[in-house]
């Protein structure tokens, strides 16, 4: 039965998240934008202790937790709300949230129950722990994981990793600032293309694994984006995510690739939700600033009766709402354990477009006020763009949607 009722448990956490976003993020949002690579420890410590109180891994879904769930699962939906609200607060800081980032999502999507326990239980420890996922390499982004050049060679009870990863979100926090881990996508058989690609967990402090560069970015400046160099980096054999059997039999399956894709089914709506949080923040501030100038938005009128500003705002609200509902649907499908690849890519495409459009238009509409660093509109304009880039650019996600609706393989449409 179709329903748009927000689950009660989510409604409760919405109130808490909104308080955090308003009181712990917004007041320092500008500061951390202007002090790139400084770490918002107050927010991090607070999130860590509150998550610990709730059992740890606050941003992970039911699939990671051992506890048998009662009633229908809503954890993906809850995550969408969390991502939206905390990104409304400050998206860079949201990306600094400890306890289950993209690395956790990869472990969650591809790991065995033992691996999940081993790697995710860290979140319940004394100190906040971060994780990251490393897929992109300097020669290829969207073509991943098919063109992974980082190698993993088995040597007895260990794997030896070699290669360099770039654009790793929160990589420094995972490897340097905390005892976290990074999920490295590497090939066990360079001849096999994407069939040879597997995810490996590299924990902080592992010799041969180092952070080499911290990028200086257009936006999301409180979140570190780093390069990771792997030089004869030895990790335990069990750190290959998923069943190692496939490897020992030398069977060429696409399990590794499918693992990466399964990760994206969860993380793409998460990014979409985050984008929409920025978009909503922008729209709310825009309306507030307009109101201060004496401009009220009248709803319900035909376009012929509206001012240009009213039309702009109504269009923004329309695209924001429709994309948010599609994002919730993608997460609802995930909670229902139904295929959500197409919905995940769809909401990612549209959210990337919408947040870019809304933030760009808002800066334009507010003129010198929009362009001024006295206000956050220009910051959100910069923060917004990453959402059309990471977790698959708008173009790669269009390709995924197109292949699905046309029932084409990647050979038929690329």
């Amino acid at each position: 039965m179709i329903s748009f009722k927000i689950p009660e448990k989510i409604e409760q956490s919405v109130v808490i998240m909104e308080t955090i976003a308003e009181n712990m993020m917004r007041p320092v949002s500008r500061y951390f934008d202007e002090h790139e690579h400084e770490i918002p420890w107050d927010y991090i410590e607070f999130m860590h202790s509150s998550q610990k109180a709730m059992g740890g891994g606050g941003t992970l879904t039911d699939a990671d937790k051992k506890k048998k769930k009662e009633g229908p699962s809503i954890s993906f939906q809850r995550l969408a709300f969390t991502s939206e609200i905390l990104s409304w607060g400050d998206v860079g800081m949201w990306l600094c949230t400890p306890g289950g980032g993209l690395g956790g999502a990869a472990v969650n999507a591809t790991g065995t129950p033992e691996q999940k326990e081993r790697f995710l239980s860290n979140y319940r420890g004394e100190k906040p722990v971060f994780d990251a996922m490393a897929l992109t390499e300097s020669h290829a982004g969207s073509a991943m994981p098919a063109e992974v050049r980082t190698t993993a060679v088995q040597d007895g009870e260990e794997w030896i990793l070699n290669g360099e990863k770039i654009f790793v979100t929160a990589g420094n926090k995972a490897l340097v600032d905390s005892d976290g881990f990074v999920v490295i996508w590497a090939t066990i058989d360079p001849e096999a293309g994407r069939a040879g690609v597997r995810p490996f967990v590299v924990e902080a402090g592992t010799p041969g694994c180092s952070v080499t560069t911290m990028e200086h970015k257009l936006g999301i400046r409180s979140s570190d984006t780093v390069s990771i160099l792997l030089q004869d980096c030895r990790i335990p054999f069990d750190n290959i995510l998923g069943s190692p059997e496939v490897v020992t039999k030398k069977k060429k399956t696409e399990k590794g690739f499918k693992g990466a894709m399964a990760t994206f089914d969860a993380t793409r709506p998460l990014v979409a939700a985050s984008a929409l949080g920025i978009a909503r923040a922008t729209l709310e501030l825009l309306k507030e600033m307009l109101q201060e100038q004496g401009v009220e938005i009248r709803y319900g009128l035909p376009r012929s009766k509206m001012t240009n500003i009213e039309r702009e705002v109504v269009d923004m609200e329309t695209m924001l709402r429709s994309t948010w509902l599609l994002t919730v649907k993608a997460m609802w499908l995930a909670d229902e354990r139904k295929a959500n690849t197409i919905a995940a890519s769809m909401c990612k495409v549209k959210a990337g477009d919408v947040v870019v459009k809304i933030t760009q238009r808002a800066v334009e509409l507010m003129g010198p006020l929009g362009y001024s660093r006295e206000h956050l509109l220009e910051k959100w304009f910069r923060d917004a763009k990453i959402n059309d880039l990471y977790e698959g650019t708008g173009q790669i996600n269009r390709l995924i949607v197109a292949r699905r609706i046309l029932e084409y393989s990647r050979h038929e449409l690329s």
């Binding site: 009722k5 809503i74 909401c347 495409v349 949607v401 292949r403 046309l406």
Partner: protein
């Protein structure tokens, strides 16, 4: 809890309406558009699917319970066949639903059963007015209180089947507030104009209507002496045409997509070119996302929430979706899309009208 899955019962209704839409309406659409006539049996077949009857409670002659969500699901499915014929089938809904939403108990008992219990008959609403900035909340047709009732003055457009209407529900401003009045076809001062010539939906016979000092009794006012709050009717008008716009858009995508897989250029299907594939992907994304706006607005109305803004956003989104998706469908077909052998040019013409069709169907 969220859910995006229609119930079993709704699923069965959608399937039945879709079969009718694709097998019957799609087949008849081109001839109906060119000739300006819809075979009466086709309207009757659609009427007998009972979409409206099922949303009217038993005491008023129906056999169901009102659900706007079920209504938008059915409206989308029907419009996927042909918008003009779907609007014809749903014409009585624009008369019945406002009565159901805003009528007095006596009006419901008296006025609804004759519509619902019989074969399809043209009970119609007169809402739209011939002005570029027509707004359903701000009518130019004026109702004035008289000693014995009300008098109506104004001009209406897009009144379907006005030349053979059983009864009219005329919307007019009373003290600046949109209200509705039952007007019988033989009322003095009521003139049905020429059949309108429109850009699209030409299968549907629509007329202008002129009201010159048309006198109606007190009890002709919807909701009695106190009138009615038009909010639900306006919301329903908006999300119903939104759902139909989504159905129309879906038809266009469903047509363009297999065409793109068959049509070859330089040795491979055009669908294997990103410029075409991305267009198709964007069409699908707009349909999927904007559909949910209509669902949400309908759900809010069903759950006694204020659906005004949601319905308005749904209309804004669906209207743009219908225009852009049908335009893209013509583009995918290239020159062939411009030829009337294919339906996409008709859908593109219909798509342009969505924002102005508000009030031509309700659920």
């Amino acid at each position: 809890m969220y859910s995006f899955e229609p119930s079993e019962e709704q699923r069965m209704l959608i399937d039945a309406v879709e079969r009718y839409a694709v097998n019957d309406l799609r087949e008849a659409a081109r001839d109906a558009e060119e000739s300006g006539e819809i075979p009466p049996a086709l309207i009757e077949k659609g009427w007998e699917m009972g979409v409206l009857q099922a949303s009217v409670p038993e005491q008023y002659g129906g056999f169901g319970e009102h659900s706007a969500v079920t209504g938008v699901l059915a409206a989308e499915a029907m419009a996927c066949g042909d918008l003009a014929i779907a609007l014809a089938v749903m014409t009585p809904s624009t008369y019945v639903m406002p009565i159901l939403y805003g009528g007095t108990e006596a009006q419901k008992e008296e006025l609804i059963p004759p519509v619902i219990e019989a074969e399809w008959k043209p009970y119609v609403a007169a809402i739209t007015e011939p002005q570029f900035d027509f707004h359903i909340g701000e009518m130019s047709t004026i109702a004035k209180k008289t000693k014995s009732g009300y008098s109506l003055n104004g001009e209406k457009a897009y009144v379907p089947f006005a030349n053979q209407a059983e009864s009219f529900l005329v919307f007019a401003a009373l003290d600046g507030k949109t209200q509705a009045f039952i007007v019988l076809p033989d009322a003095e001062g009521l003139t049905v104009g020429e059949r309108e010539k429109l850009l699209g939906i030409q299968a549907l016979p629509t007329f202008s209507l002129t009201l010159e000092d048309v006198k109606v009794p007190t009890d002709a006012r919807l909701g009695g002496d106190d009138g009615f709050d038009p909010a639900s009717v306006i919301a329903s008008a908006q999300f119903t045409i939104s759902a139909m716009a989504i159905g129309l858009s879906k038809a266009a995508l469903d047509y363009a997509l297999p065409y793109a897989k068959e049509r070859e250029v330089w040795g491979k299907p055009i669908a294997q070119r990103q410029s075409i594939a991305f267009m198709l992907a964007e069409m699908a994304i707009e349909i999927e996302s904007n559909r949910l706006l209509a669902w949400e607005a309908a759900w809010m109305l069903d759950n006694d929430q204020d659906a005004a803004k949601a319905a308005y956003l749904a209309l804004t989104g669906a209207s743009d979706t219908a225009m852009s998706v049908t335009d893209r469908a013509v583009q995918v077909l290239g020159g062939h899309g411009y030829i009337r052998e294919h339906p996409v040019e008709l859908w593109m013409r219909n798509g342009r009208g969505i924002s102005t069709f508000t009030g031509m169907a309700m659920v």
